[in-house]
Amino acid sequence: MTLSPLARRVLAGLTFGVLALIYLPLLIVVANSVNPSQSMTWPPRGVTFEWWERAAHSSGVREALVTSLQVAVVATALALLLGTLLALALQRYSFFGKSSVNLLVILPIALPGVVTGIALNNGFKGILGVDLSIWTIVIAHATFCIVTVFNNVQARLRRLGTSLEEASADLGAGVLTTFRLVTLPQLRSALLAGGMLAFALSFDEIIVTTFTAGNGATTLPIWILNNMFRPNQAPVVNVVAVVLIVFSILPVWLAQRLSSDVEAAR
């Protein structure tokens, strides 16, 4: 198959054009964070760091950030544990109902977020009679974060094969010793990548969070949502948005480098 030079140029133009369009709105948020106009009209007249200062001193932002970090850390830890166990079970053994278990792990992200949200909300409030708190957010987040760890670890296990583990067993190492000294070290970067993606997913999640947060806990996305429509808070939301762009990109980029695997990012 030969592509004419024109076709190649059209494809390249299209690709880079769309990429530019993808980044443009994000750049606008950055530009607007120093836009002196409170209503954020365009083009900006001048540069101000007033909003950055106000954001730095906002206790609401700080508390929400701390809540988000707490939720993400605990949810990621839970997802790492459960996702790794599942990946080991599904990748190394065959058993009855394996494909159902596989489907079960994917379900929380395959079904629309609003379904997961209302199901958990109803489960906590209507069935268990539990008050919504930071813990209900953690449980909800861990449930859909399992799949990212699971995907990463499973892909790595598939590539590793079993020969090293078999060698270890033949040399007399017990099951747990083999895991600790042979399997786990080889999984380290996959766990790091999966954990980072789980962290980013939890840190960013809004739809499921609105259903499982209640009044007691405000994560950063919920704070943004609550303040976006308040005219005098919108510039501060802008600043928070810029900080979020930076902080969500860095770990993901790192995770990319670590896993160097397109499949793993899903």
């Binding site: 494809l11 709105p25 609003v114 109803n122 949502l225 397109v262 990012a265």
Partner: protein, 304 residues
């Protein structure tokens, strides 16, 4: 250490334990009993998924068959199909359901149309160096905050915002804005699986077709496209499901229009009618289940 390794070698009677001090009795037991190892691995995650998620889904279905007492606004736990009757008879729900599916379909079609040429360029035209760069460039905004992206579009489309200033003109806040924003947010989710599928198509296959005299259009149509179907389907499922479950974007750039997610949120919260919210949630569940079973036949699900 696969599950079968201990059984497929009947001649091997040596227990690995006597070799050295490393294997303790507990470990020997684990080594011999495959089912014990498996159930130790599976019990915690499976219990979590079943107790948290499956029970919640089942409870949702049950709740949709309850009702709310209009006087005490407590949940009345007697079986009734009233919620579903309301959904069928009230025109508002039908309209919103159709609108939601329509928006999800539009977003999916737009995203696939944009993703196909881009993924093709990335996988088959660009040099390896540019390809690596493009993959990172496409992936990075995938994980940039969802809310920030919607917020960005709110700014772009706002009165006196960039869209108006450049003279392109803003559609204002409404369904068009929802479709634009959603297509923007989920685009990387569609590009990725198509790119992954294209990467697996060997270049030699395309060259062979070209050498045998097939024009480029024919190669694309009869060789590339069929091989891409699983990737396209995977991407389409993501964008369709994600759009259908969204209600935040609609709140932020949707103006007065509503989607199913909004109705679910309002009924679960402010309107305090969890049973009705649960019944409405059955609509996206059923749509997704129908979609997934229809797609299952094509064999595309294995690539999700």
């Amino acid at each position: 250490m696969s599950a079968t390794s201990t059984q497929t070698r009947p001649g091997r009677t040596t227990d690995p334990a006597p070799r050295g001090p490393v294997a303790r009795p507990g470990s020997r037991l684990l080594h011999r009993m495959v089912w014990l190892r498996l159930s130790l691995l599976l019990s915690a995650p499976l219990a979590w998924m079943l107790l948290v998620y499956v029970v919640a889904l089942a409870a949702l279905l049950i709740t949709s068959l309850w009702s709310v007492d209009s006087l005490s606004s407590e949940i009345d736990r007697s079986w009734t199909l009233d919620n579903f009757r309301t959904l069928l008879e009230n025109e508002v729900y039908r309209k919103v359901a159709l609108r939601t599916v329509g928006v999800a379909a539009a977003v999916t079609v737009i995203d696939v149309a944009i993703a196909l040429p881009i993924a093709f360029y990335m996988a088959k035209v660009a040099s390896p160096r540019v390809r690596r760069m493009l993959v990172v460039a496409v992936l990075t905004p995938l994980w940039a905050s969802y809310l920030v992206k919607v917020f960005a579009w709110r700014i772009v489309l706002s009165e006196g915002g960039l869209a108006e200033w450049t003279g392109i003109g803003s559609p204002g806040y409404g369904l068009t804005a929802v479709v634009i924003t959603q297509a923007y947010i989920w685009l990387p989710y569609v590009i990725l699986p198509i790119y992954a599928a294209l990467e697996r198509v060997p270049d030699s296959l395309l060259e062979a077709a070209g050498d045998l005299g097939a024009p480029t259009g024919m190669v694309l149509r009869s060789i590339v496209l069929p091989l891409l179907v699983p990737g396209i389907v995977a991407g389409a499922i993501f964008s369709f499901s994600l759009t259908m479950g969204d209600y935040i974007t609609v709140n932020i750039v949707g103006g007065a229009s509503q989607m199913l997610g909004n109705l679910i949120f309002i009924n679960a919260g402010a309107a305090n009618n969890l049973p009705l919210a649960a019944a409405i949630a059955m609509i996206p569940i059923v749509v997704m289940l129908v979609l997934l079973t229809a797609i299952r036949r094509t064999g595309a699900l294995e690539n999700l």
